[in-house]
Symmetry: C2
Subunit: 240 residues, 2 copies
């Protein structure tokens, strides 16, 4: 059975500053935990109410009571499995393919979905402004459905990164060229903006090609959600 | 100031059965309320803590205290505006363009995003299996960002609807024809399935064209989220 000090440590990981201090993050759900155990992420500990699971993974896991699990889970109804993993060392950002860059994406579900999309479309590198939600936030991990293990995510000063880049830099703007008519480069950086405000003016200054997703019918909709816009644009980039 | 019986009624609308009984639903947030006030939805009442708003809309609105608003809001931090509207009478389903059909989509955010996508891509009609989350659920309304007012949504027996239809019926399957190579019909029904299980076998029997969204890179991702898959497929249908 897991001890009190462990419970206290794991509970503290709900806050970003403690995740950074300990270089640990929490994952809930059997399926995602199994994906992480198979990945290059190093496991710290898996806690479970499932005795069979603990027996099968005795080197890395410990039994936990439902009551204790409820104390440390970020879910309303914990599902019986909580894994703690070590944060990944940053990989090198490869510049020979498309890169996705996000500027202050704040909803965990949106960032998680964008990570899952990068995985689907074979985008190896995602760069995030330091104002973007932490990718080790449990809701982000949840929404990635395991894709967190296959995308190299780097937090950096996005202005400096774009300024230093020699790749074409694409961004979606209402007044941009319709993406269907656009000759799309074989590599580049696709910048996606904040949910409410889009790409900030500071970052917009670095965009070398403004594109737009055509709208149909009465054109009454105001905008697309950032994750669905990313889906459409990555599909356009890959089908080109 | 709003009375106790009104508060009790509005609070009861958090449950679907009460929404159906009273034919009323709740919307929170100034922007969406303003969209609904401009739309064909009939207003029942808008409650607000904002005296200026109430003065400007005196025929339809009443002042509410922050404490009372907290009691009836479904948000952790209510934002000062709560509207109650009458459910729309069902429009006729038009068969001269694409229709989106959802089979047991259960996450409110996903259904709301799909409604927003229909609006963007000029899809007038969305049909939902009766096992799909209620479109008047506050989280669905929230995620539509006002698009709920511009898409005709019908709950029906999806099997019967598809069986009676003479339109081509498309569905996404891993083994389907790659959508990039596919000759896409000028009208039809696009069926999207449940988050975990995809299109049910009962519904799959009616699909006349199986399509797939190509995957890239190492092809390690397991699937796409249903809302992002809808985004990509509607974009493919409209760009065809």
């Amino acid at each position: 059975m897991v001890g009190k000090s462990q419970i206290k440590l794991i509970k503290s990981l709900q806050l970003k500053k403690n995740r950074i201090q300990h270089q640990l993050f929490v994952v809930e759900g059997l399926k995602t935990i199994q994906e992480l155990l198979k990945s290059s992420f190093e496991v710290y500990k898996v806690l479970s109410t499932d005795e069979d699971f603990v027996t099968d993974h005795e080197e890395v896991s410990e039994l936990i009571s439902s009551a204790d699990l409820k104390k440390i889970s970020s879910l309303n109804t914990p599902n019986g499995y909580l894994g703690v993993f070590k944060m990944a060392k940053l990989g090198t950002i490869q510049l020979n393919d498309w890169i996705v860059a996000v500027d202050t994406v704040q909803d965990p579900g949106n960032l998680g979905t964008i990570i899952r999309l990068c995985d689907w479309f074979g985008i190896k590198n995602l760069v995030c402004s330091t104002t973007t939600v932490d990718c080790y936030n449990p809701k982000v991990i949840q929404a990635t459905m395991g894709s967190i293990t296959r995308v190299n995510i780097t937090y950096l000063n996005l202005s400096e990164f774009l300024q230093a880049s020699e790749l074409p830099i694409y961004g979606a703007f209402m007044e941009g060229e319709k993406v269907y008519n656009s000759a799309i480069s074989s590599k580049g950086i696709l910048v996606m903006g904040n949910e409410a405000n889009g790409i900030s003016s500071e970052i917009a200054a670095f965009i070398t090609k403004k594109i737009s997703i055509p709208q149909f019918g009465d054109q009454t909709a105001e905008s697309l959600n950032v994750a669905t816009a990313t889906a459409i644009l990555l599909n356009e980039i890959r089908r080109a």
